[in-house]
């Protein structure tokens, strides 16, 4: 129920106070990225872009960022592909042991990453394998895949089966119908899934800290060891502020895209309703 004006004012103030609290550390990080002093403390001594230059000439730091982007992108693609497979499989009308299959597929959501990380370490040891970025990638795919399923499956269920049936009736086989009809209709959810899986991997520390080999850290691992060395902190803050501004930018873009699509859709339906009314059909409620 909509509160009275006093309640509305109080809730609005509460919300924006919380928004400020949430963005405060992010803002602080960006501000101190431009601070001249070696240590990130007040008062701010002067404006400089020196730390960005230093960060961009630090090959170890850049290597870690690139490594994380590569593993993140690979995780995004692979986990989304697996998510599509799982979603189609689960949408089969009859599936034996459905409840068990769902439980196993969603298990990575509840098993703590630290337990998974040490378990994978033990498994690699048992199999006589070295820790490697491939192992990190494997771990990231498993923890990201449930998110892909949770994003793709509802979208797949909301599709009108008549569209796929129409494609089949027009002579395409199951694979072609999937490629030409289902996949394009799933596309918005696939983009979301890719982004969520990418972020899950890019930000993951537990598995990477145990399985990334020495000399090949991912960005979170590099950040962890680097932030212990005072000399490295300013350039880490600089790169960190770029990453934060970048991710906020992507989110703003995605939201802008959603609002644009919504407005366009509303425009089209309004036009259609108008056209129908003009042609004598009683007004539709949209």
């Amino acid at each position: 129920m909509r509160p009275n004006w006093l309640g509305r004012a109080a809730l609005t103030a509460y919300f924006w106070a919380f928004a400020a609290f949430l963005f405060f550390p992010l803002a602080v990080l960006v501000i101190f990225a431009f601070n001249q002093s070696m240590t990130p403390t007040l008062p701010i001594t002067g404006f400089t872009t020196h730390w960005f230059h230093q960060a961009f000439s630090d090959t170890e730091l850049l290597g870690a960022v690139v490594r994380s982007i590569e593993i993140g992108a690979a995780t995004g693609l692979f986990a989304t592909a697996l998510g599509i497979m799982a979603s189609i499989g689960l949408s089969a009308r009859r599936l034996r042991l459905r409840a068990l299959i769902v439980a196993v597929l969603l298990l990575p959501l509840v098993v703590p990453y630290i337990s998974l990380a040490v378990g994978m370490l033990v498994l690699l040891n048992q199999a006589g394998l070295q820790i490697s970025l491939w192992a990190v990638f494997g771990g990231h795919v498993v923890i990201a895949m449930p998110f892909a399923v949770l994003v793709v499956l509802p979208r797949l269920r909301s599709l009108d089966p008549a569209m796929i049936e129409a494609a089949r009736d027009l002579g395409s086989n199951e694979v072609t119908a999937f490629g030409l009809v289902t996949l394009p209709l799933l596309m918005p959810s696939l983009v979301s899934s890719f982004l969520i899986c990418f972020i899950t991997s890019f930000d993951e520390f537990a598995i990477a800290s145990f399985l990334a080999p020495p000399g090949q850290p991912t960005f979170p691992v590099f950040l962890y060891t680097g932030s212990r060395a005072p000399g490295l902190l300013p350039e880490l803050i600089a790169v960190g502020s770029l990453i934060i501004v970048g991710s906020l930018g992507v989110i703003a873009l995605a939201e802008g895209g959603r609002r644009w699509a919504e407005r366009r859709l509303r425009g089209i339906t309004a036009e259609a309703a108008e056209a129908l009314t003009d042609s004598g059909v009683p007004a539709l409620q949209i």
Binding site: L29, F32, T41, G89, V118, R157, F210, Y224, G240
Partner: protein, 326 residues
């Protein structure tokens, strides 16, 4: 149906280009093919989870009962000694650490859920047109690097020369150089960082429930003479409880295994259970004992999940679940 006899064979062999006179295959045959084809698609994702997740967990279980070991020269025979020591050993430090962690986790879960409720309420009933955009404002920090946000808290905001202490000195609220000691490496800093990290996420399920609530029910309560507060207490809040419990679980489960925040903002006495596991596989490799802790953590989380899981979305458990949210 004259064509019914032919395609039994045609469908079973190679996919054929529609022959003239056979433009439509009978639906019965297609249904059979679909069922076989689709269901098997769950096998690759299932296989990867079994290999990368279930395999390691089973192996950890074997280590925890000493059927495998990484310590050279020790025999491997079934033994529950490590479990007994962890569960019943008098004054076992790891069990103590576990209960300390559980206390922090419960505190964080309750606090975030309580604090998130008004946020969700604002979005659902006050924000109106811009509610999805404002929801995104709330969640956006969650999608930036967790580690970076912790670094910002520990190295810039809370430390002894940090923003908060500097501000207190500048405002002459405390003598210069005499910072608040409990800001960092304390229970407070662990709580604050975990609270901060999870609150955006926690408001989501509460918002979803409030958003989908039948407004006629609150109107009916008002028509029957209930005050705003009574309406909230007797209608809105009870109806939103599934979202509240889901929110509680959303933060309880991941924070139970938390170990990153204490690395930055915890002192030696504020390390969580996850840090104990970490050190058994890092600094002092005794995998057998570490496996006990790692498996115990999984068991606790699974039990929590079984207790609270039925309050979470049933979307996946039924074949045709209702959709939540947009």
């Amino acid at each position: 149906m004259a064509t019914e006899k032919v395609p039994e064979v045609a469908a079973g062999t190679a996919p054929q280009v529609a022959r003239p006179g056979l433009a439509r295959r009978p639906p019965r045959v297609r249904a059979v093919r679909l069922r076989v084809g689709r269901g098997t698609l769950v096998l690759p994702p299932l296989g990867i989870v079994l290999l990368v997740l279930v395999g390691p967990v089973v192996l950890l279980a074997l280590y925890s009962v000493n059927l495998r070991t990484n310590i050279p020269g020790t025999s491997t025979a079934f033994s529950t000694a490590n479990w007994k020591d962890f569960l019943t050993g008098p004054g076992n430090p790891f069990r103590g650490r576990f209960f300390y962690s559980l206390k922090i986790t419960l505190l964080v879960s309750v606090a975030t859920t309580v604090a998130a409720y008004p946020l969700a309420y604002y979005l659902a009933f006050v924000a109106r047109r811009f509610r999805y955009t404002l929801l995104l404002v709330l969640i956006a920090p969650f999608f930036t690097s967790y580690l970076l946000r912790i670094v910002a808290w520990s190295d810039i905001v809370l430390n002894n020369n940090g923003v908060i202490n500097q501000a207190l000195w500048a405002l002459h609220l405390r003598a210069h150089g005499n910072g608040l000691g409990w800001l960092l490496y304390s229970n407070f800093s662990i709580f604050l960082v975990l609270f901060y990290a999870w609150i955006p996420f926690v408001s989501l399920p509460i918002f979803a429930v409030l958003e989908n609530m039948d407004h006629q029910l609150t109107e009916a309560a008002a028509d029957l003479g209930a005050s705003r507060f009574t309406t909230f207490r007797t209608v809105t809040f009870p109806l939103s409880l599934p979202g509240v419990i889901a929110a509680f679980v959303f933060v309880l489960i991941p924070t139970t295994g938390e170990f990153i925040a204490p690395l930055y903002v915890g002192g030696p006495n504020n390390q969580l259970f996850g840090n104990e596991i970490q050190s058994f596989f890092g600094d002092s490799p005794n995998w057998n004992y570490g496996a006990v802790l790692a498996v115990a953590l999984i068991v606790v989380v699974l039990v929590l999940m079984l207790v609270f899981g039925r309050f979470l979305s049933t979307d996946l458990r039924t074949q045709r679940g209702g959709q939540v949210g947009r």
